[in-house]
Amino acid sequence: MTEPLLRVENVSRRFGGLLAVDQASLTAEAGQITALIGPNGAGKTTLFSIITGFLQPSQGRIVYDGADITGVPPHRLARRGIARTFQIVQPFVGLTVRENIAVGAHLSRPARTDALAAAGDVARAVGLDASLDRPASSLTVAGRKRLELARALAIEPRLLLLDEVLAGLNPSEIRDMVPVILAIRDRGVTIVMIEHVMQAVMSLAGHVFVLSEGRIIAEGSPQAIAGDPRVVEAYLGKGAAARMTAAGGAHA
């Protein structure tokens, strides 16, 4: 078996008395989509922040492409091919869509004209080309999510971490985003996504990890996870799985 592109090994993170992440381990195979799911407050975004260098782990390490990247700052990780989106979108509000994406494109293109042109290409790939010269502040939520994605893509990452990129979108917007994400994977980018929208997780992810109260409580294929009583309990509370089986219904 080939070495996974990303390996998170027994990472823990304390904030004072709170153990936000507790000995969490996960892997992401190259060229695949791995999902990280779990109830709110489980520590998923904290884990992303640790992987991308915004936070230091209290314990454990992160291995990327065979190298230990624990504690490497975000801008260096970006240069090594790791990109992330933020759960609460962070557009460069005063700039146009094109200028936003160009900031990412500049990573490998020192010239302004090149970066702006490349930004146009990336925008087309995610369906934002109609808004290229409008201010980022004029975008709808769906538009801003695409912008967040486009910016991350512009740095030409090998590993893309998506933090709830589908949150706040209506069903038709989600339906439009899924092929975009699949196309990114098909171009060879490894994706790890935090997601709450279960239908997307089912259709996109090759492998799923479940984080609850800072701990990985389950991992496996989407189908296996859906049927796992521990996962049901993490979301719905203790005894929920038993109650559901007793009531005679299976639920995804």
Binding site: T52, F54, P73, P74, H75, A78, R79, A83, R84, F86, Q90, P91, F92, V93, G94, L95, E99, A102, V103, G104, H106, L107, R109, P110, A111, R112, A115, R134, P135, S137, S138, L139, T140, G143, R151, A152, A154, I155
Partner: protein, 323 residues
Amino acid sequence: MKGFAPILVVLALLATVPLITSSNVVLNFMVMALLIALVGQGWNLLGGYGGQYSFGHASFFGTGAYVTGILQMRYGVNAWAGFIIGIAAGALVGAVIGALSFRSGLKGSYFALVTLAFAEVLRIVASVAPITGAGVGTLIKLDLRSEAFQFQSRAPFYWIVLGMVGVSLILTRMIEDSRFGAYLVAVRENEDAARALGVDATIVKLCAMTISAAITAAAGCFYAQYYLFIDAGIAYGPWISIEGLLAPIIGGIGTVFGPLLGALVVKTLGELTKLVTGGAPGLDLVIYGSVLIVVVAFAPRGIAGIFVDLRRRLSGTRGRSRD
């Protein structure tokens, strides 16, 4: 505004001023306005484009002024060489303050506070240190030769400071169009998002601060040569920190021409105040402080911002989505 053409046009127009008038009053006014514009351009790079508001740009102004003055008077260094060294010294001070502040992660109000504190420390040190002449100040000996960077008439001074403003305008325009400029603005808008895109925010801010300090120090060097006298209150006093930030805010923060426009407004206000009240100390700053509040409240993008909005509205580009 795209390209360098507007800059060259403005410079050409301004260059004709000494040819049109020989009034010392007008020339003096214009020299001071251009000087404040220069300080403002320095501030604008760090504050307008970079989003880091410094309340202590006097640190660089005063360093430029004192270094050039002291080198000439105590060490016999040539005035032009002193000028260059003064700029370098100011840039160094900027780099040090920047390195200390940005490595500590200081932002926003804390950054403003620390820059204020540094300026005050320098002012106090300058007011007691023997090398600066302490309370008496530093006097540059009158030596009306161009080799000594002193001129009989005001016109050469005017063209020199205009040239400096011109260089600054061109530099700002070049930065606007470069990767450094894109990164600087990204850091201003959202530092974390910028970091995630590969921007080394600390280095970017540090570079901006160093260039900003160099430009402001140049203004300080020029001041010393023009007025031939400085003391701690002039060199490192709050007046220059305030006028230096007021100009770009009024004129249009984060724009190429903002500081120049704003400086003209600030100086005009200052002269009007003097005319009406006879120059009692304090009133001009009262006006400046009030204008600052009014501009922030009603026209935060300044004069240039109003033009940009007007142009957008006239050309019909929609700024908002339908939602």
